[in-house]
């Protein structure tokens, strides 16, 4: 069994490393397209302009946007965990005095031992709704945050199972990909807002350029220019939607795996099943956790109905797999374990 899961773990780590690199490359390439595409369109539209007018030859936009994208990706990677924690208003546990907090620290330490990762930093979100998330760039720089509601609602075993789930995300490097994605989604939304204004000016300019080409000297450039322009504008409009869909698609499958890892660490899948049931039962949305960090959480903090369904539509639009299915899978593990109890190694 341990051989299976370790192989799985290795593959998952590799896949996450690869996906993180792909994400960064895709992000930068997308911005390069926005920049150089704009340059090319601008170049085409000013090529036939009179000698004295401005000719766009050097790809300033492309270089600038590529550099901005690289800096953003680097910045997102370096400060992503901080930003995520900041956006939820989490506070670190430094010197636990409260018995509940002391217990949380103990439970996290226990799970860190069980999973073989260094003890992460522990944060509390003062929100009455039970939820938890993990963030960080690698196991050495990981953070686990739980809400006050989770501490109030869950028993020690259930808390342990939830923390095990989060450390599962840490161990197989889900946190790196998901945190980077969260930071990039935020950055794209921000840039999009800013750039839309610039783009409006740009379309006017492009339109003006298009009008000036009336001589028909270069007939082929007209349709090409139009198509390019349409695709390019569409890219600008769709950028935030694309990143959002990426965030959704990336997080669903790995919830099942993290559930399985929690079960492996605690050897108690039924505890996670009952914790998930409690979290599901308290259906108030987690107010402190906003859309941007939703895919990091153990349960959808927005309490969307969509999460309850499985299917093409839900697959594309929900951040989390259906809770009922997760619980059913964990119960299955639990009963299988009870059945062969006594045969296994402690």
């Amino acid at each position: 069994m341990s051989d299976d899961t370790s192989l799985n773990l290795f593959q998952q780590q590799e896949a996450n490393r690869r996906r993180t690199v792909l994400l960064v490359i895709g992000f930068v390439a997308f911005f390069a397209w926005l920049g150089f595409g704009g340059d090319y369109i601008y170049y085409l539209s000013t090529r036939d302009a009179p000698r004295t007018a401005y000719h766009h030859v050097f790809p300033w936009f492309g270089i600038a946007l590529t550099v901005i994208a690289l800096l953003t990706a680097w910045y997102a990677y370096a400060t992503g965990p901080e930003k995520v924690l900041w956006s939820t208003g989490a506070r670190p546990i430094v010197d636990p005095t409260d018995p509940q907090e002391k217990q949380l620290v103990n439970v996290v330490e226990e799970m860190a031992i069980a999973s073989g990762v260094p003890r992460p930093r522990i944060w509390i979100v003062d929100d009455p709704d039970p939820n938890a998330f993990a963030t960080g760039t690698d196991p050495l720089h990981a953070h686990v945050a739980v809400t006050r509601g989770l501490l109030d609602l869950c028993s020690r075993e259930e808390l342990q199972a939830v923390v095990g789930h989060e450390l599962g995300h840490v161990k197989n490097l889900d946190v790196r990909l998901m945190t980077l994605l969260a930071a990039l989604v935020g950055a794209v939304a921000l840039m999009h807002d800013g750039a839309t204004r610039v783009l409006r000016g740009g379309t006017n300019l492009g339109g003006g350029g298009g009008g000036s080409r009336g001589g028909g000297k270069k007939g082929g450039a007209g349709p090409l220019l139009a198509v390019l322009l349409v695709v390019w504008i569409l890219s600008w409009i769709l950028a935030p939607i694309i990143t959002q869909i990426l965030a959704l698609a990336v997080s669903r499958k790995r919830e099942y795996l993290a559930d399985a890892m929690s079960a492996q660490f605690t050897r108690n899948p039924l505890a996670l099943a009952s914790a998930l049931q409690k979290i599901e039962g308290a259906d108030a949305p987690t107010a402190a956790i906003k859309r941007g960090a939703a895919h990091l959480c153990i349960a959808d903090p927005l309490g969307r109905r969509l999460t309850a369904h499985e299917g093409l539509f839900a697959d594309a639009l929900a951040t989390h797999p259906p809770m009922a299915k997760r619980i059913a899978i964990l119960r299955g593990m639990g009963y299988a374990q009870l059945k062969k109890e006594g045969g296994g190694v402690a």
Binding site: S2, D3, S6, P99, K102, Q103, N106, V107, E109, E110, M111, I113, A114, S115, G116, R156, Q160, F265, R267, V345, A346
Partner: protein, 194 residues
């Protein structure tokens, strides 16, 4: 042509050898590291017990034998001088005895609500639960890693490199005797005066 094929085969074989050897060494070190973790946690436990016993001693005059069993088991465990995975059998025996003594004490504490009501004991109980869990999880990680290591070095074809990597099967940490886990009887006739 023939020499090219030979070269390719050679490269593949050498590549596999390096991979298998490094895989074994990595697992061996992971096993050692996991064992160190147990050591760390056991040390923590040994340090915690005197505090625990002092805290409940006053309130538990009547359970002297349970306390003495814990102290004795603890001293026995501290005395064990074996280190490394070779000493697993010896260490695990002493530690399992201590585990069951502690379990008996916890059950006894559970039986006396007035003992639990004092905040101090509640904290100590949490500490003890956590320490026991840490020992158990460290053991679990060690057993998982060691099993993986053992399986790897016995499986074909990695077993051919096992000698080269000086891989030897690591002992697993045995689970304690079921009889020792039996729930202790609390002698009600000696109930303390309220």
């Amino acid at each position: 042509m023939g020499s090219i094929i030979f070269l390719v085969v050679l490269v593949v074989v050498v590549g596999w050898l390096i991979g298998a050897y490094n895989g074994l060494i990595s697992l061996k070190n992971q096993t050692l590291n996991a064992f160190k973790q147990i050591d760390v946690q056991l040390k923590r436990r040994h340090d915690l017990i005197p505090n625990l016993v002092n805290a409940v001693k006053g309130a538990m005059e009547f359970e002297r034998s349970t306390l003495e069993a814990v102290i004795q088991a603890r001293n026995q465990a501290v005395k064990v001088n074996a280190t490394g995975p070779e000493g697993v059998k010896q260490i695990s025996q002493a530690e399992n005895a201590l585990s069951s003594a502690l379990q008996r004490l916890m059950v006894v504490v559970e039986q006396y609500p007035q003992l639990k009501a004092t905040g101090n004991i509640g904290q100590l109980q949490e500490e003890l639960t956590s320490t026991e869990n840490k020992v158990a999880f460290a053991r679990q990680l060690y057993n998982d890693t060691a099993t993986q290591y053992n399986t790897k070095q016995q499986q074909f074809p990695t077993n051919m490199v096992a000698g080269l990597a000086k891989a030897q099967p690591a002992d697993l940490w045995e689970i304690e005797d079921q009889a020792e886990k039996a729930v202790p009887q609390v002698d009600l006739s000696m109930k303390p005066k309220v």
